[in-house]
Symmetry: D3
Subunit: 287 residues, 6 copies
């Protein structure tokens, strides 16, 4: 999927303004000329952000050539060449930090996601993210989770209707809330309920929701409840999707065998560290 949407193009402009501001002062110390450079990683991990690197540099200066050696989601080894660049040194330096920063951040998320996805290996359970994402980077961080083998939860308040504790508390119960939604939201949109209790989960499934989140329940509770919910829903070609949410990443394996379809966690985004990449210049005319 092409991630450099019109919205992301606007963000790239903002990122470049943020770092370049009134202009790169050190351009006065040197002469502009064509040089080559490449990126290497200082540790093993997984890569993400190639098309952004390309778009950042093309936004700065169309003459910069970017060669991506690794697709998004690929495993990278320490010291391996990831990206090669050729162009005016003024542009290569002016875009360096912005391009590295976004790629290092996203690659950190992919690497963290891969680790958790590995714990689910051999099961049919999938790892999902949440709406706990860095403001301004939602779409890209969620893209990184996908590159790491995860699946996305809804992307915003307008992308699936999700009833939470307070929506339920303030209304006249789950069935009426769902009925209200059905009248008002696009028919192409899923309805999901975040259940704090067994009773809410059952009520939601009986009301025909598309998915139910079992929030902050113990693995044994999730196991029992999932079995019960599947029973309510049997015979259908299109079963309700059951997600365990509010899970600590270290408990993921315990939930993997409870029969849920999805385990969600914000950890790959909120608890991960950046990968560490470095840009090396070479002055050879042939590069």
């Amino acid at each position: 999927m092409n991630i450099v949407t019109p919205t992301i193009k606007n963000l790239i402009d903002i990122w470049l303004k943020e770092d370049i501001g009134r202009g790169d002062l050190t351009q006065s110390a040197i002469k502009n000329k064509i040089v080559c450079a490449h990126w290497i990683s200082k540790t093993n991990g997984f890569f993400c952000g190639g098309s952004l690197v390309e778009s950042i540099y093309k936004t700065l200066d169309k003459s910069v050539q970017v060669t991506l050696h690794k697709p998004d989601g690929a495993r990278i080894s320490s010291d391996e060449k990831i990206v090669e660049l050729r162009g005016p040194v003024f542009a290569l330096l002016a875009g360096e930090r912005t391009a590295l920063n976004i790629a290092m951040h996203l690659s950190g998320i992919v690497t963290a996601t891969n680790k958790l996805v590995l714990e689910l290996k051999g099961t049919k359970v999938r790892l999902a993210d949440t709406r706990k994402t860095t403001p301004g980077l939602r779409d890209l961080e969620k893209y990184a989770v996908k590159c790491g083998g995860g699946v996305n939860h809804r992307l915003g308040l307008d992308d699936a209707a999700m009833l939470k504790e307070n929506h339920i508390a303030w209304g006249n119960g789950i069935p009426e809330a769902i009925e209200n939604l059905r009248k008002n939201i696009p028919w192409t949109t899923k309805i999901i309920v975040e259940a704090e209790t067994k009773e809410q989960a059952i009520e939601a499934v009986l009301a025909g929701v598309d998915g139910v989140l079992l929030d902050e329940m113990q693995p044994y509770e999730v196991l029992a409840l999932t079995t019960q919910l599947r029973g309510l829903d049997k015979g259908s070609s299109k079963t309700v999707i059951i997600e365990a949410s509010g899970i600590s990443p270290q408990d993921i394996k315990q939930y993997a065998s409870t029969g849920v379809d999805i385990i969600s966690t914000s950890a790959p985004i909120t608890q991960s560290k950046w990968m560490d990449f470095s840009m090396r210049f070479t002055e050879k005319s042939t590069c």
Copy 2:
């Protein structure tokens, strides 16, 4: 639902710039003073756009007071007062055309939608819109369809995954396309297939899609196929949603009894006329 989202606030700025440009030249002909005004409709119909009128005027001048006599979706009679305004005449005139234009356009859509929805009265079938909307006004025109008793189809390319003729033709068949989507799209997102043939529709339902569009089929074909699709899907608490699409508005009644859940048409947006409202000024100090 609060329709004046941050995105819509930006549009209001653009609309005002469009009409006001370098400034209202006629302000030089008169003195600014506080006046009152109200809107009346020249014909019967339905109203839409109240919160936009309010937001347009508040954007221009916070001191303008807007009183809405009719909620969005309400029936209005010829000569009935719809909106009342009080504030500096410079602001009232500078916002007049923009506020009237958007409300007259959206009210036209509500009125046209109501007419078609009436034809479905007594059935469980709902009327849906399409992505044929005026560029820049998608969310608002779809809101007007809802106010008119319709239901929205997806709001953009990112809001439900819909396989169309060409997605099917270019891949290895519907099941593989769906499998690819399931791996890549949020689990909270529905998958829909637009079927040109009976075979495609059956294949889609067997693959467990959330919805199927029967495109440009005759009413008798839709009736037969819907029955067959319901059979494939039976026993489920959560049945596949079946939509008849590519329908002329005049044929709507014939499709209403085919057993489909939804009939979609772009007509209330692409074939409707604006309502005609007029703003009348009064100079009384008490208004």
Copy 3:
């Protein structure tokens, strides 16, 4: 005239964000590759929007090639090829709806304008639009009216100074209002008066306005008044322009022989229906 001004380029960005949002989900179902496509019309009519189609696609992806078979304003027959496209399928699909929507909307306005202009054939009377335009599309809709053989009225509150009922009521009469304007507006700007009565029209012409609108008067009134106004203004190389406004489109012929220069109506914009175009894909390598 080049209609893709810097302002319109911004709108194109907004339109694309509106439809694409967080990205076209169905891109995950297929592989990207170069394909060809063309547009055909489903009915006879007139075309408008070619340079917008080109600019929309170039904004999305510079490699898309757009060939326009019809200039803006040209007559098109049902099933005729209007536009041909060649490029990555991801781009062709991502821009499809936006490009079609704006062209279908504008082509509908051209077609409606042509119909009314035909009624004025054989006279010297020209058809003009009004400021009743869809918010965000003013310049483009007015361009469509021109393509259909009409002439534009002022484009915004800053484009010609037009005294209306309330400007007159709140001041000390037309001559003083005009004097105030002359002192304050650019000398390159016309002054126009919308007259509700015969007396106002006469007063305006005697005050030397550039144009006078005879608003909501009967054809016989317009005929008599126009004759009288021409008398006041005789001998001038540069006569006052007289417009009949507030006219129903069905009455246009009755006003055509009253001697006015211009008949204005919002109908081609507020009462017209979209044309219906369709985009067909072909996979042949030679296209």
Copy 4:
């Protein structure tokens, strides 16, 4: 006229970002508290920019109170209080330079305009500006010219159609160019010709233009030509407007008695100096 249009509001945001950037560093040196301040002028002259000062401060912090002692266009004496401010010192300092800069620049233009307008006293000739304006400040600089007693020429390429040397050279003569324009531009828009020769001026007036510019001609040529042009145009209630353009400001008096309506010069904008204002703080609680 309200000059703080939606377009100007955007500029104010840009100006504030320009000066404040990542934040006023000196805020760390002091504590925020409510203070008072006022502006005085260091020389005699004329003031302009009051509503901008107000809008700049309100944009920064709604609690700042701005009292304007002088309307735009008013004469100011050295050491006279022009503006008073009350609010948080952080806001007063953060907006100080931006507010002073725009007001000092515009006041310089008003003062320069007044001087030239004085030279035309006793005649009916008016002083006009040109499109030679500082990029980003066109509307405001032209507003300052008006405040100084001048009249504006067109505000942009879309505001009056003006045929210049090259338009004439590249076409088939003035009459055809005008005919093309009349077909395509709004009927509410004036047509003007910039004439380099006597012949062009005559041709333009005979073709019924609204205005003619006599460009870079000697005063005696302008005198003779104006008389001739008035003759061609006689009997009209609405005579062609004649402008002398390409005039050095020092020659203005010589052109004042040639019979032209308008003399245009870019000098008040391109050759003027800023006024010099100073902001003085007072810490008294009652201010």
Copy 5:
């Protein structure tokens, strides 16, 4: 310092669009009413982001009241109330995730910074950040480092001129590079050299730079070199600032006694985890 600069106000608009998109779908499930809510932390740590929370909510709806119980940089205990909110539930929910996300992210940085700053306790050495920051959040993440007791390095390429390895390699040595800079950059701007070797560091100090970075050197090297550099610079009231850069956070104590002024590390930004806050609603009328 007021961190909600005009630039940050724009970012808040972007963040809200990102999460709210076409509107919060669940608003259809409930009725709008005034409610109260508060934030508590799930763990001990330090808080940051109060004025952003306030600005996010005021941007959404001016009627929301935000009470900050903790200033930025304050220690917070698990379960302590941090923020209280009162306002329409539609606004409270629509801003919840954006406000929490930015505050949790920044609070994580403050907490991580505090930990490292603690290791420097008892020394005069200060902890600095780098330009490795999340694209779009540079100013805010650096603000969080300050709230945690750190000091900022330059904020962008335009904020201090810093010669790095390649600037030196591509020119004619450090002295010439510095001379070029002095001619071209503002005199108010510092010049800094990142030295990879002892020789470069000495050369830079002799050339009178304002600061020198000793990059990726061992603690014993830094100790020796710092002593030598202080010798070159002695007698000055204003000594060169020496920074150890390229330091792993775990080695910070070893560098603390080398005599450097500053130790810089990207760790509080690139290696930290978010704090975990939760928003709790209460429906009591008195809150």
Copy 6:
């Protein structure tokens, strides 16, 4: 240095919208075709703005070719060719005024700066600008000062921390204010004090500031004080920078021999006149 930063690219869009608005009306009078043009100056002086001219035209139409005959800062003689252009006449005309205006304005500043810099010839004193710049043009006007041989003062409130009269009055003296700054501003940022009195200057230098401004003092006072300040600071490799500010441009020579490093004045920006350039078209096919 590349001055067309992402921020300046945005300004160029705004400038073009300002002049082109709803479109160049005169395009209707002529046919589009490829033509050539060049710029000549009407007087001797210095040029500035070449890369802006290029960027303005490329923004309008990528096919326009711009050849710069003079680098920024170069001396130009009357009637010398400065710039050559080749491209569609619609683009050449639509960009003409914007490109000329910015270049004429900046060239005026370069020319005025050169004149003042000449007065300092033979001394080591440098000429600096101030924050008195035209809103929206700060970076470009300061760039012009550099092209004219001057040096820039800080570019905004965030670029160097400068304590002024009121910062000192409202705090507990200069040393405490500086201590507060050191804790809070980046260590890479200079601290400067604007001294109104001899005592303040001494206090500032003793507190180790990077620069001190002697504001509105007589030449003999500056001479005596500078000698004294140098004494306080002696022995340092990196001496405090002393600036004379609040100077009238005519007094510059008197201050040139006082021993200060810098003399600042806003005159080249606030008191300068535009250069006068003209664009000449040629229709030859070979150009």
